[in-house]
Symmetry: C2
Subunit: 335 residues, 2 copies
């Protein structure tokens, strides 16, 4: 149904329909009601409006991510954009930063732009406290919402995730069975995925009855790119008397800092000191020895997310949540 | 001027104007001419059309880049999107890949979407052969076109670039004055910027009367992320009898491969072997010693590009080309 049809059925001009749709200009209450009646009767949507006008500005999906220059998110945005375009959709990109208020504002803004759906790329859009996720539920009341590597049990929200818990659980068990028992968990995000990873590490350590001292779970707060600061964080831990011979990191950047720390301390990797990274990014080849890392199958996730979205947009019943397994890619920093 | 004004001045319905603008539906030649006459007389642009309709889908800039997951381009997209949004503009992102035909097709597509301007991010959109740049000139006939780190002398095209020639020239002279004379130039792009960098290296080598053997200029053709393959490229060079004790690379990835090569050969860095990278990316902290690299002031370039674009869009006279100097950031891989 197009604006022409509405105009015809309501018996008013196209300009009037446009004014009603945009809430602008003077339109009598009676006329406004007539137009809105037609719209609700025929389930007209603003997207159809624009397409009907032939403006070709719709068929557009909003992609939100905290920081498109982050190695993981840059890949995600790249895959998502490509696969959307292959399906004839444009992508409006919005980098929100990590502040919850900014994220919520960006979601509102994109909905206002009348995109067909929103993709929240990266698990940092979902918070521990349910109340903090109300902005996602509110958005989903208006349009389909796709979560990449996060989940929320709310109508019209679809999730495609990597099983980060199991990946970390298995990787931790492997490191323990390789003879390393004093393993620091080094992370910088308490996102949905961040918590699953930590839980995987804790579950494995507990299963092997290894002491989970609070000092062994280390949260790094600084810049996501400042590898020297990450290395200094581990060095400080050592200076405080904490001894450890393994680091399991929530991403490759932190893992690279751990390799640097081992070198600084004169530990031989992987004989005396083991490191595991996450994301299997370009960084795995940057250190010596090369980094063992978990491949979380990002391209597969993105492809599946777009397939799901296309199904949803064409009115099909689609799975609410799909989980893929990760894979440990062994290189030189673990036994 | 809005579609309503055109409709009024041409004495035809809004629907007819829309059909003419979109080249759809049946409109008599006479009517079509009448509409187009009004449009050309009043310098109507399709953007004003959409804004006039209050659709709120414009104030949108198309960002094109070959690959938004490339480290340099990911940063560029991030800065550009942020700074556009700070000015109230949305960004439609389009990752084109490196094929010239795909790039030209993406430009057409975005123009068809009636964005307000296009930003071509990365110098690989401009080719050596002028005929190959016709697609840029054609696009600029329809809307302002911004080039990040590339230049083209065509109306309505604005360039913001880093002085890559001088940066490379000075860095090469520095490496020579540090005692290294057999310096391989290692690159993977013959883009606008790629050629400037190579020319800087060649100028310095020539000035110092160092033999520029063809073997010393090495083009790497493989994947932009495959550091082991880059290292193998240098190793093969060695196996073919070419001896070199310095590598100047067109980006940090290639430079990191050179550091790995030095380690493989048992050279001490920087005493026996020096390496210079480009872009001052996250990779500079990944190797040991850390990488000397050229900071090409990407954020400054992006800020200036957006300032220029905002000036252009508001009808101001803006500089066609702005050049910023890069800076050599010395770390452990050079003397």
């Amino acid at each position: 149904m197009t604006i022409y049809d509405i105009s015809e059925k309501a018996g008013v001009s196209i300009a009037t329909v446009s004014r009603v749709l945009n809430g602008s200009g003077s339109v009598s209450e009676k006329t406004r009601k007539k137009v809105l009646d037609v719209i609700s009767r025929y389930e007209y949507t603003p997207n159809a409006f624009a397409r009907g006008l032939g403006l070709n500005t719709m068929k557009t999906i909003g992609i939100l991510c905290a920081d498109s220059s982050d190695l993981y998110l840059a890949k995600a945005v790249y895959y998502i954009e490509q696969k959307l375009r292959a399906n004839g959709y444009d992508s409006i990109l919005c980098c929100t930063g990590y502040d919850p208020l900014d994220k919520a504002a960006a979601v509102s803004l994109l909905i206002h732009k009348k995109v067909d759906a929103l993709i929240l790329a990266g698990s940092n859009f979902i918070y521990e406290n349910d109340a903090d996720n109300q902005y996602v539920a509110d958005a989903a009341a208006q349009l389909p919402l796709m979560l990449l590597n996060a989940a929320l049990d709310t109508p019209n929200v679809y999730s495609v995730i990597s099983d980060d818990f199991t990946s970390m659980y298995e990787a931790t068990l492997q490191m323990i069975s390789g003879g390393i028992r004093d393993i620091v968990y080094f992370y910088n995000s308490a996102s949905y995925s961040g918590k699953k990873k930590l839980a995987g590490y804790l579950a494995a350590m507990k299963e092997k009855q290894l002491l989970n001292e609070a000092e062994f779970v280390q949260f790094y707060q600084g810049s996501h790119e400042d590898i020297p600061a990450m290395t200094a964080h581990l060095k400080k831990l050592h200076d405080e008397g904490i001894r450890f011979h393994g680091v399991i990191a929530s991403d490759d950047t932190l893992a690279l800092a751990a390799v640097k720390y081992a070198k600084l301390m004169g530990y031989s990797v992987p004989d005396e000191f083991c490191v595991l990274g996450y994301n299997n990014s370009i960084l795995v080849n940057c250190c010596d020895p090369e980094l063992t890392s978990i491949d979380n199958k990002l391209e597969t996730l993105c492809q599946h997310l777009i397939n799901t979205l296309m199904g949803v947009l064409s009115g099909k019943e689609m799975p609410k949540k799909t989980v893929f397994s990760g894979e440990i890619i062994r290189r030189g920093t673990t036994q």
